[in-house]
């Protein structure tokens, strides 16, 4: 049986040569993403802005306009309705009543339930959330803190483990990944809720994972080929790890694809965010973070200095590049 190889042996793409184009494109996309986030804003879920979210399931397909009219008659504030694929399910968002605290929110749910049951017999509320403004403020604070801590923590880890250039390039690439994800949510106006924070953190984790593998190879090659110039060394490292990068992205996209199509509507935004993040993260590993090392002035000397301190220079092997070592 012939085994599948997504990346042919001895692939040698000059990623470093492309870096100015890549940086330009990346910058442009990032600016667009940030612009979209500020211009259109995120469709923040009740988790982050407070309010009421009711998911109603109807026995037959229903028109959202009719539901909207029913709710408008209740005078419980402006509702926003959403349907995902299934014409029998409608998600209703309502603002929290300004006065009366938690009991009032409950009253709104009950009022809505009664009116809906009268208008559409057989309707059920399959779930509902009420989040007060105070709690939503804390949730947003914790969410942002979690993402920031994760990025900073991991950047510090790779700085201590390798040279500072690795820390900075990883940091830049990951901030890029997060901004792109935000831009995606701003443009699609998919609901941004607590689950998406989990998705963003996973993207951060995955993206780092990807960069670690390449960084690790760069370090290994710096030890092996001391005389090789940095540009070819980085190209060599990225190309050597390319089969793995592509293979892993493919397997994860396959798994997430199954979740996107079959995992139900509750997880759809979450999965979409993650798939986008995997693609963006892979792109930034290959095109951004490794080439950035050159811009940041990583040279074999900087690596050697640090190695002498840690005393693993002695393990360095001397072998020719792999093209010269074909059997």
């Amino acid at each position: 049986m012939k085994l599948l190889k997504l990346v042919p042996d001895n692939t040698n793409i000059g990623f470093v040569k492309l870096r100015h184009w890549a940086f330009g494109l990346t910058l442009l996309l990032t600016v667009l993403a940030v612009g979209a986030t500020f211009h259109k804003g995120l469709n923040l879920g009740v988790d982050f802005v407070g309010g009421l979210m009711i998911e109603a399931k109807f026995p037959q397909a229903v028109q959202t306009d009719k539901v909207r009219d029913t709710i408008a008659g209740l005078r419980v504030g402006e509702s926003s309705l959403q349907q995902f694929g299934d014409p029998k399910t409608v998600q209703i968002r309502l603002p929290l009543p300004e006065q009366g605290g938690a009991g009032a929110a409950n009253a709104v749910v009950e009022k809505t339930r009664k009116a809906m049951e009268a208008q559409f017999p057989g309707v059920t509320f399959s779930r509902y959330d009420t989040v007060s403004g105070k709690v939503s403020g804390e949730l947003i604070q914790n969410g942002v803190l979690a993402v920031v801590l994760a990025i900073v923590g991991i950047a510090i880890f790779s700085w201590f483990r390798y040279e500072w250039q690795f820390g900075v390039s990883t940091f830049v690439a990951i901030v890029h990944d997060v901004l792109m994800t935000l831009g995606f949510f701003a443009i699609t106006q998919l609901e941004f809720d607590l689950n998406i924070i989990a998705a963003v953190l996973t993207i951060v984790g995955y993206s780092i994972n990807d960069k670690m593998v390449i960084d690790d190879r760069i370090r290994e090659n710096m030890r092996k080929y001391r005389k090789m110039d940095m540009k070819s060394l980085i190209d060599l490292s990225v190309n050597e790890t390319l089969p793995r990068t592509v293979m892993t992205s493919m397997t994860i996209l396959l798994a997430l694809g199954a979740l996107l199509l079959l995992g139900g509507h509750v997880l759809r935004g979450f999965t979409a965010a993650m798939m986008l993040g995997i693609i963006v993260g892979t792109y930034s590993s290959v095109y951004v973070s490794s080439s950035l090392l050159i811009t940041l002035g990583l040279s074999p000397q900087t690596a050697e200095k640090k190695e002498k301190k840690s005393g693993i220079a002695a393990q360095a092997e001397r072998m020719g590049p792999r093209d010269g070592a074909q059997p």
Partner: protein
Amino acid sequence: MLNFSRWAIAGILLPLIIGIFCAVPSFLPDSTVAKLPPFMQTRVNLGLDLAGGSHLLLEASTQDVAKQRLANMEEQVRTELRRGETKIAIGDISSRDGKLSFMVRNPSEVDAAVERIRPLTQGAGLTGQRDFNVEVVNSSTIVITPTQAGIDNAVKSAMQVATEVIRKRIDEMGTREPTIQQQGANRIVVQVPGLQDPKALKALLGQTAKLEFKLVDMSANPSEVAQGRAPVGSEVLPYPTNPAGPPMIAVHRQVMVSGEELTDAQQTYDQQTNEPNVTIRFNGSGGNKFAKVTSQNVNRPFAIILDGKVLSAPNINEPILGGSATISGSFTVEGANQLAIALRSGKLPVNFVVVEERTVGPGLGADSIHAGLTASIVAVVAVAAFMFVSYGRFGMYANIAVAINVLVILGVMGILGATLTLPGIAGFVLTIGTAVDANVLIYERIREERRRGRNVVQSIEHGYKEASRTIFEANVTHAIAGGIMLALGSGPVKGFAIVLLIGIATSVFTAVTFTRVLVSGWVRRTRPTDIHI
């Protein structure tokens, strides 16, 4: 590197077998699991988003606690200075701005008053602070200020009591496996799986259930009461169902008996009208007090006060000596039952409001489980096929490792009693994707080493060794992200992080160590000169 001793193999397989074994109960029906011995009941709990149920976040008002404490202090000061042979006369009592201040009528008694008030304060915290500061201002006014340490202490103990009271009330409702936990300084999380309608629960948690019996002040002028003014030593309380007209009534401040002195409360029916009511039974001292007061006040009405509102004000027709009393107040059966439960479990030391509520119906939960399961199976099959097409025999080894990994994650979650949520299922699917990453790293490395001209055994050894370091480093960073999610995340994010973290730990073991055992076994058996990878 490829040689494993028998003991090493046993050491690698044993935890995996234990893990798989612990995963089994999660697939069995409830009734079967109940028959197993306790150490085998290692099941994954389903989160509310999968099982259906309610999540409530209750917040106590700390201002309430502070206010209550100040009121208690005022009461204590009054009794203390009125007590004994030398009474100290005071006036101008006010409790504005969170401070209690009053004037001592005879300036020469100020020092004596301070002397007698000081013992009412207590130590708070470890710094030697008191819970109240007592100062003399303008030579005749005493100001009692609560300290922050004192308030914190009071909130802490109020929360402990409240958590217990809430637990008792929910247990009395007969719901299954509720989770009640304090969160932060002044919040309590209540999670009740399988509860369809949290209305009753919220009504139950919403009442403080502070029950008091006080005598009605018959001397009060009705028109003054209507304006909210009461004679000295009395107070005006709302009485929404007053048959005599205005929704107000004046009662004596002094408490005859309070809810703390009851031993039981049951929902019962009035023998004449058949209306639902609540019958309570006092303990010894409560019964004695009630008997004494009712004997002395025959033919006068007394008020039954719940949470500051008068429920009813019946007449004392004869002394009540049996140590029990009936509370009526136009209840529904449900309302009477809730009041009985609330009274049995004691009063809440502080008021709570619901600041967050999430309810998922069982239908949506079941749909989510179904969709998640389907997605997981399709993901496993797709990834497995992809791995097989890419790496042949080695791909199959990786697939066996992934299958075992999924079971071991379930087993570990069962042992830890962790909760599987909907994002947790997503975590599973993602783990399947990333678990094979370790194998991809190893196999790609083996391919590389083969291309460099190393022989089969050397390539495999080198592949595992070099890739292991990378895998370790990559997973440490991944675990940092997971750990932060676990620490800072709430609800769904936590559920996801748990699966992710367990998955990271187990997948390194199955994908690296376990596949190495499989590969080395095959290499030793067949001694291949070339490998198809």
